[in-house]
Symmetry: C2
Subunit: 330 residues, 2 copies
Amino acid sequence: MPTIKDVAKLSGISRSTVSRVINNHPYVNEEKRMRVKQAMLDLGYVPNSSAQRLRGSKTKTIAVLISRIVNPFFSGLVDAMDTVATEAGYKLILCNTRGSKERELNYLDLLKTKQVDGVVFASIENDWSDIKPYLAYGPMVLCNEYTDQTDIPSFRINHFQATIEAVTHFIKEGRTKIAFCRGDETIGSNLGVDREKGFISALTSHHLSFNKQWLFRNVSSIEDGRNVMKKIERMTDRPDAIFTGSDEVATGIIAEAKISSIKVPKHLSVIGFDDQQIAGVITPGLTTIRQPINKLGEQTMQHMIHILTNRISFLGHTEVLTTEFIVRDT
Amino acid sequence: MPTIKDVAKLSGISRSTVSRVINNHPYVNEEKRMRVKQAMLDLGYVPNSSAQRLRGSKTKTIAVLISRIVNPFFSGLVDAMDTVATEAGYKLILCNTRGSKERELNYLDLLKTKQVDGVVFASIENDWSDIKPYLAYGPMVLCNEYTDQTDIPSFRINHFQATIEAVTHFIKEGRTKIAFCRGDETIGSNLGVDREKGFISALTSHHLSFNKQWLFRNVSSIEDGRNVMKKIERMTDRPDAIFTGSDEVATGIIAEAKISSIKVPKHLSVIGFDDQQIAGVITPGLTTIRQPINKLGEQTMQHMIHILTNRISFLGHTEVLTTEFIVRDT
């Protein structure tokens, strides 16, 4: 395989200048740059990125941790991040943790072994104390998820306020028996906790109490939504509204309602979360909380690249983006 | 930073044995393995994967080329591939080409610079003659897409037959004015060509002709489907059935029909492609062609890992998986 020495010999240009051309350093005379490039082409010389990495340059690769790519919320986030990353010459390694603490730590090892320059958490599984040691190996940014155990940069919405808005909407529409769905329980995250606090807060300020029978745990997919609806059908004391926390769960509930005696919204009012494409095309149209998915993904990645490019301190930046309440038919 | 030498010294074990432990070679006595691991832990020794790579070992990373991750067909494929890859200790780099020839070639450079061990094409943009030279740097496998310009391994369905089945269904239901949608035109791919051939073949064998006014090009999203419906509404001679080639396009058509004078399926019968989750939850339920998305993704990745693990020749393997025609309401 041809080496830098061969390129230098053929082009008649010093090895140090050839090296500068390969590493895209400035201050190389344009004519020399062209002669080096021509010699590289003639010889079939390929700069070995592994060798470049050993010499201290970066991988230009960022790990993105998500729970599952088939959730349109995550594929939307990754798509937005990818647009910004590609623009800046970075690649993304897709890290589907599938809710596993062990997989998450395996992916964090990529930082330790210098296979990625930084890590974006769009989902988080471990307690922060187990993640913190990896900060020694490179920067991390939180997107969507957040925890009060750390002050690393975080881009997110206000889940507490958004939930209050949704539940207050139910109450204004005359619903009083309100059910609540939550996703997987993650010890390292404040997201679920804040939604639950918002839910209780909205009920309390309208002198309503919470029937624990109407709390559904670990629901996140369309299939889970169908099962929630089946459970409600079997209840003697049924809720008349449900905060699903997810457009997918809401979609499952609406789909199941079509073959159920419980009709949406007549017997059961439904509010989703995200405003995914499906919310606008199913019948009845899903009332939901629109998250700025593109902005979340873009701003997170812009910040990560800013950190990597400028090698700056990366603590203490939190950006809370606004949501929009979208009223449709449910 | 501690080196292998330090680990050898602390553990009292030879450097070559330490190296075997680090590279997970078999035939190392279990007691020695534990002593080496303990010494690595005590010293905080981290095997540098860049260094490992230079010594000829592999990146354990595979590039997956798709056109866009927000299409549920692709996120489903990637999810299935990821399950198999993770199981085998491989990571995936997500390569969103967004239909760009240039981006595709940029991603192929990852093979050249030894940042990935192999490439899976789930979408293909360039002519094969431009992709072929990269085969010198590592194996490639096609998934979903295929072309008669090469005999590298390919996992796919029979698009010609599936289209004939769909169009024949229309004709049996008494529809005679059948429209056809196709995605982006890709010179390197036979997929679109085969669907079009199947379409014409089904019409011809039932003595029907094709009205070119009912050919819609470059449609692939829900938004595109809405626009197709608007165009049909403006026609004086309208089709009474439409082969959409995509559940997303079909969903857009059905959603737009709700605010249109053209009703589905009364005035316009619709058939999708893929059987994505949305097909079963929209109203009316979408009649479509089910692709074995999980199997496609899993078998492709299993084959890629088989090639990488056994360093075998990788030509001449084609697997054509079966589809299923799902009749719902449209």
